[in-house]
Symmetry: C2
Subunit: 412 residues, 2 copies
């Protein structure tokens, strides 16, 4: 994933690609095999030795899964979490009242095991839609949560994976008031999993001292430019969620926008979100390339986001890039139906740094030169669509034969 | 395509699946090989022996191709067409001022050849984006337009095709005032063509006596429920257009909503649009199945359309159906992110007539039974999403390996 990191080489951050949610002070993470899967770890946790201010963002899908409903309510009511447990292999979605009760029972078992408040336990699930959780196996998992032998950040990073081909995690450190503040993150990707859904889960921990409201605002802004700007196939899961915990153990004065070093923290936080989001996009099912679309000159940021997302979402663009085919016409078309605000005569497009559209007209380019550039793993499309100030970047992947084979037929 | 026809078996219409735009009185169509393609016909025309009232609908893509800009202006100013010429293999899009001039020159050559007003010649193109039309070849085509040897409806049906695997055409007859009124239609599909874009072109002719304003309204309403409700890959071309000509040669009194037999005409017109649209969906690139999503109970028709289109647009649903995999969770998810108005507890879904979701919860179903039904060519998904009056149907196709192979790499 080095090439993803280099996308942000300007960032003067202390980045540890081995780090994860267990890196900040006072955080412990782990995972084990509870039996939902055949052999792989399928039950993981994040624990803070002290209560942590919490914030979350949740799927906009109307069929919101039970664990999201339960967790969202807890964070709304208390703004505090001390633990998060995650199971893979079963989404606990479309499971009605029983699904809600199962999520609450899981919460209660974990709270009892860890001797903490039930309302301070976050729950996340990813996997099959429409099946009830195997509560005997879930209970087995909860009985061993935080057991020394299972406490290892990498075990958590693995336990939440589905069709991801790699774990996705990092930590970043910044100095606040001369003290080291660590932000750790772990995510799983939106590869569709047997037999049903794509789910994106993100977890961010920090030992920063920050109020939950401030954390919430920081998370929302950050997600808008990271997790909300990636697409693998345009499908939004019933279980997508990003949870954030801040336990204040770095022991500096409370951070907020008025703090002189706020922007250092905000920047580091955004870097974590961006890195995790790009890692998910690059690891999309069947993906062989990370596709980045950068749009500027739009009338608003929102329009810029629509255009950038349309480019990386287009099946025509995705297949062309998979084929390393300089199909700039498909990029122009994907832009053209994304926003009415585009001014064709003021539109410029470069593909892999080579100009392909100038003032809305195609320009001659060296086919062999562009073809060679399209063989790289990171493909960047840059577009100017007018003279506005709206800018955005979106991240996706190519559409390959493997995407179809992974998704065409599982259950039979 | 019989199974598409049977979708509308309730319609008591005199349907001729051999018919096309040349079927109504006073219409002649033809096509020839002008040299834009290697050997296949690539230049076609529709001609009315008398001036015809005209209407058109055009792509919403901001990068509207030159022929659409020229044709739209002509119809806006005159509401009359006497001829339409179409070339395949080159879209004349992203070609700036020269592209507009090329379209006008084509118009002028055709007008001169047929001794009609230039403003009465409609122009359509489909093919490569960003290349100038080879005007020598276009001119060659115009010099032979309406030559006896090339005048054959089937030649036109063929000349406009791109990656379509079959011609798409029919005619329908109804009695108005005891006189036979014929409506003919020919279309090409949104298969992406070498090396660039998807284009959907539709042409509808009729000998009905109807004012252009009435025709325009009829066309727009009809398109909203047909051509606008199909998707192959969600990409909207720079060249999509549906043109309609009515020459009045059936010689009945003027048709409008106040005419006692208006609804017979409107129904026949809608049938033509629907049949052509479904034919396009079923012949989407790499498609092996027609997928129909019928939604009811939405708060508005617009919401119902959004939900129905979301289902047939979802890559997860499309790949699952390709794999004949009963992945109802993907259908629910695609509905859930399409509209905020969905009421999960009032949501019911059937897949191939088998209930899979009841009041928002999954229901047990016979896997083998459903698997068998999913092997059919026409897959119908029916969903109720609440208690509103909004209803809609959308049409799409499965997503196959062939889709990727057709689109991954052409130019190299």
């Amino acid at each position: 994933m080095k090439d993803i990191e280099t996308i942000d080489t300007l960032d003067q951050l202390n980045i540890d690609l081995q780090g994860d949610v267990s890196s900040p002070l006072g955080f412990i993470a782990g995972g084990l095999h509870a039996g939902l899967r055949r052999t792989r770890k399928d039950f993981g946790w994040i624990y803070s030795t002290t209560e942590a201010n919490a914030a979350g963002v949740y799927t906009l899908n109307r069929f919101k899964a039970a664990p999201l409903i339960v967790t969202e309510a807890c964070i709304k009511n208390n703004q505090v979490l001390q633990a998060i447990v995650v199971n893979s292999a079963n989404a606990n979605a479309c499971t009605g009242e029983k699904g809600l009760q199962d999520a609450k029972d899981t919460q209660a078992w974990v709270a009892k095991q860890l001797n903490i408040t039930q309302q301070h336990v976050g729950i996340a699930s990813t996997g099959v839609i429409g099946s009830f959780l195997p509560m005997d196996k879930i209970q087995h998992g909860t009985e061993h949560v935080m057991e020394e032998q299972y406490n290892h950040g990498e075990y958590f990073n693995q336990a939440i994976l589905t069709t991801d081909t790699a774990t996705k995690h990092l930590s970043v450190q910044v100095e606040i008031e001369g003290k080291t503040v660590t932000i750790g993150g772990t995510a799983k990707g939106s590869g569709m999993i047997h037999p049903n859904m794509a789910t994106m889960l993100g977890f961010i921990t920090t030992d920063a001292n920050i109020e939950s409201d401030t954390l919430d605002g920081c998370l929302r802004e950050s997600v808008d430019e990271s997790f909300n700007m990636i697409t693998v196939d345009g499908d939004t899961s019933t279980n997508d969620m990003v949870l954030c915990m801040a336990n204040g153990q770095a022991n500096h004065t409370t951070l907020d926008a008025s703090h002189p070093e706020w922007h250092k923290f905000e920047h580091a936080f955004n870097f974590v979100s961006q890195y995790l989001a790009k890692s998910i996009a690059k690891d999309g099912e069947g993906a062989t390339k990370l596709v980045t679309a950068k749009v500027k000159g739009a009338i608003t940021t929102e329009e810029a986001r629509k255009i950038a997302k349309s480019i990386v979402s287009s099946s025509l663009v995705k297949t062309a890039i998979h084929g390393e085919d300089a199909n700039f016409g498909r990029i122009v078309a994907a832009m053209g139906y994304a926003s009415d605000s585009i001014v064709p005569s003021e539109t410029f497009v470069t593909l892999a740094k080579i100009s392909v559209v100038d003032e809305g007209m195609s320009v001659a380019f060296d086919e062999a030169d562009l073809k060679a550039k399209l063989q790289e793993d990171n493909i960047v499309i840059e577009a100017t669509v007018g003279q506005g100030n709206g800018e955005a970047a979106a991240y996706g992947c190519d559409l390959s034969y493997d995407y179809v084979s992974i998704n065409a037929s599982y259950r039979t």
